[in-house]
């Protein structure tokens, strides 16, 4: 017994020692981990349950001048279906209904979807593709379809949201509005990418239930800065008009591409800018910003520049005559020809512009500047046409003018330059020049953006002022002469086909050849000008590149677009004329009226009309339904039915008047 007891005590003692030892080891190990690796493990825990979360800055919007949204960020939805989740019974009962609805929505046959879903069911597909890039109303519609309306867990409805940049107007001004993503950064979106984007913020967050994260502190580690809104100068209505006017001409002439820009004369604000290029299937869309990037040979629209320089240098005056016969002129080894073999004979320089005579202009410039061609080039530089406009939109084409004395200069350069060949400008640069003529010589930079404003604080907007490139491109006298000639181009010159007595257009036609060294040569038909002539409000350029074919003249191809724009603006500018509306209160007149009304009320009793003017009495009685016969024309002296006698419609009554 005692041995047994002793044995137990011994064993218990051993066990106790062992347990204590174990405790000590554990305590030691805990302290060791706590002290030595504590920080590391704390960090690991934090990493799992905490994160520095990015707070995305809201990207700014792009607006038109009238407040319409041109570009904004929004959700697009992709829908997939977890077919394996859907209950077999539900699928069996509702598959037909779902397929029918999907078929209606996507324009397929119900069988197509039925087959697709059944196959997915057999394959236990948990991620069957249904549709992508849906807008919210469409997404909502699909969500309400049978099976899908059971939600994610029962109906297997899977939604994936993507933030995309949306252009609510679709194709309208797409290239000018632009974008800023992996494809590049064209247009306004590209130019103002930094402003629009804003800066993302950071915030420390802790993991909580349902996959959500809650902020740990009350402040953000880095505050996000929302992107700013860009308010452009584009007028949506004008853009719409110009877009469709240009599109119509492009389709008519099977053009390769074309551009049209409308600018407000005084401010340089670009109200509409359309760029349309042809696709393989002969439709048109905004593929490139031709107005900004494409430097082309302007052809005859450049004659205005030559005229302006010659007038400013006082080497000619507009009444001076030039002999253009026989319709061509030999310069060096080449011939300058007037279009279609025309022989205009001896005409004034002013008329040479109106008729767009190449011979007239070649003679004018060559004869006056061939000794010192640099003087003519100095004229171009004085205006500023040799410089880029430095518009914010990326990719502006550089103007090109050959320099006398360099290898690019030849004996024919000057003569051909006078009517716009051998040089390059972009449509926007050409328009800026014509705009300056309309703007009393003040050359302003084309403006695409009116202001940049904070999303929720419109007061602190950065407003972009009108920038002046050249305060005076020519004297008032020269400008007045040029304007008058441009008016006559439309009134009795090459563009008389677009003349209208209702609104005064001024401008210049142009036709040149492009890519004539390639297998795909084209005519460039253009028209540049402004309206109304008296007090110019808008300037406009239309440039259309068409394949070689019969009608390629600027006036016929580009002119109508210009005219349509001008006509539209004319038709929407209403005139107000005031007329006087009297409010006369004459007591004497009122008394008479009240007596008349009083009698009229008692329509079943013969009134007393004695003493009333005859015509009044007739009107009164006839209105009561009586047949009136009368003698004389003055006041009523006698009536055949006595006053107070009941009457019926159709009764006859005789009146004797004075």
């Amino acid at each position: 017994m005692s041995i047994n007891q002793e044995n137990i005590i011994k064993k218990t003692g051993l066990l106790t020692v062992f347990l204590i030892l174990l405790l000590v080891i554990i305590a030691f190990r805990i302290s060791y981990i706590q002290i030595k690796d504590g920080k590391k493990y704390q960090q690991m825990a934090d990493d799992i349950a905490q994160k520095l979360d990015t707070i995305y800055a809201n990207k700014g919007n792009v607006y038109s001048a009238d407040g319409s949204l041109l570009a904004t960020s929004m959700f697009r939805y992709e829908i997939r279906m977890d077919v394996a989740t859907v209950d077999d019974n539900l699928l069996r009962d509702s598959l037909s209904a779902l397929s029918k609805k999907l078929a209606q929505f996507f324009g397929e046959t119900p069988d197509y979807f039925k087959k697709k879903i059944k196959q997915a069911q057999a394959e236990k597909n948990r991620y069957l593709f249904i549709a992508r890039n849906l807008n919210y109303p469409d997404y909502q519609m699909i969500r309400s379809f049978p099976i899908f309306n059971q939600g994610a867990n029962k109906g297997g409805f899977i939604t994936i949201q993507n933030t995309v940049r949306e252009h609510p107007f679709g194709k309208i001004a797409q290239r000018t509005i632009g974008y800023d993503d992996y494809r590049g950064a064209p247009g306004i979106e590209g130019a103002y990418a930094a402003e629009l984007r804003g800066k993302n913020g950071m915030r420390l967050k802790q993991k909580i239930a349902k996959g959500q994260w809650k902020p740990i502190s009350d402040f953000n580690e880095i505050e996000p800065q929302d992107g700013k809104d860009i308010i452009t100068t584009i007028d949506v209505n004008m853009q719409d008009i110009v877009h469709h006017a240009l599109l119509k001409q492009l389709l008519t002439y099977n053009a390769q591409h074309g551009t049209a820009v409308v600018m407000e004369v005084e401010t340089g604000e670009v109200k509409a800018i359309v760029n349309l290029g042809k696709t393989k299937d002969s439709t048109y869309y905004e593929d490139r910003n031709y107005a900004v990037y494409e430097a082309y040979e302007p052809g005859s629209t450049f004659k205005t520049v030559s005229m302006l320089i010659a007038l400013e240098d006082k080497v000619i005056d507009t009444a001076q005559t030039v002999d253009t016969a026989p319709g061509y002129w030999n310069v060096g080894s080449k011939f300058v020809r007037d279009s279609d073999g025309h022989n205009y004979g001896t005409i004034s320089y002013a008329r040479a512009l109106e008729l767009s005579s190449n011979v007239g202009f070649a003679k004018m410039i060559y004869n006056n500047y061939s000794q010192n061609p640099k003087k003519f080039l100095a004229g171009i530089k004085r205006i500023g046409l040799d410089q880029k406009l430095d518009v914010p939109i990326k990719g502006e084409g550089a103007p090109y003018f050959p320099e006398p004395g360099t290898k690019n200069w030849s004996g024919t350069s000057l003569a051909w330059m006078s009517f716009g060949y051998g040089i390059h400008v972009t449509p926007l640069q050409m328009l800026t020049f014509y705009n300056a003529i309309a703007n009393n010589g003040v050359m302003v930079r084309p403006k695409f953006v009116k202001e940049v404003s904070y999303q929720n604080n419109k007061k602190n907007a950065i407003v972009y002022p009108t920038e002046i490139i050249n305060p005076k491109i020519a004297s008032d006298e020269t400008l007045a002469q040029i304007k008058n000639m441009l008016k006559n181009v439309v009134k009795k010159g090459t563009a008389k086909n677009i003349y209208s007595p209702d609104y005064s257009l001024a401008g210049k036609t142009g036709t040149s050849k492009a890519n004539y060294w390639t297998s795909n040569p084209s005519f460039v038909s253009s028209f540049t000008g402004f309206f109304p002539y008296e007090n110019p409000k808008y300037s406009c350029i239309v440039v259309v590149h068409i394949p070689y074919q019969t009608s390629h003249y600027g006036s016929v191809v580009a002119g109508p677009v210009f005219q349509r724009i001008a006509q539209k603006i004319y038709a929407t500018t209403s005139t107000v004329s005031k007329v006087k509306k009297g409010e006369y209160t004459y007591k004497s007149l009122e008394n008479k009226y009240s007596k008349f009304d009083e009698i009229k009320k008692k329509s079943n009793v013969m009134p007393n009309v004695k003493g009333m003017p005859g015509m009044d009495a007739v009107t009164l009685l006839e209105n009561m339904g009586l047949k009136v016969q009368y003698q004389g024309s003055g006041k009523v002296l006698a009536q055949s039915i006595n006053a107070g006698t009941p009457i019926k419609k159709g009764n006859a009554v005789y009146l004797t008047n004075k």
């Binding site: 319409s68 949204l69 959700f75 919210y136 109303p137 959500q212 038709a571 209403s574 409010e583």
Partner: protein
């Protein structure tokens, strides 16, 4: 004293849970906001396109309507008062 500490502790736990609830609510509302925004933009694009002149022109073409060729003349009345007495 102990009771007070316990009360404080309970309040702290409550507050922590409340925060979690708020975070969930914010997430839900945020989602709703985005959805409403998406709906707003989708509908606005539609109305903007509908009100464009060329759309309207196309829509009323069959009724023989087209935009005016000449500007509207607005006649405004001016009131003139006269009495005889």
């Amino acid at each position: 004293m102990i009771l007070f500490v316990i009360a404080l502790l309970l309040y702290m736990i409550r507050a922590a849970h409340r925060t979690d609830e708020l975070v969930m609510k914010i997430a839900k509302l945020k989602k709703q906001e985005n959805e409403l925004r998406a709906e707003y933009i989708a509908l606005r694009s539609k109305t903007m396109r509908l009100k464009m002149e060329t759309t309207v022109m196309e829509a009323v073409k069959d009724h023989g309507l087209h935009p005016a060729e000449k500007p509207a003349k607005i006649i405004r009345e001016e009131l003139v008062k006269q009495k005889d007495e």
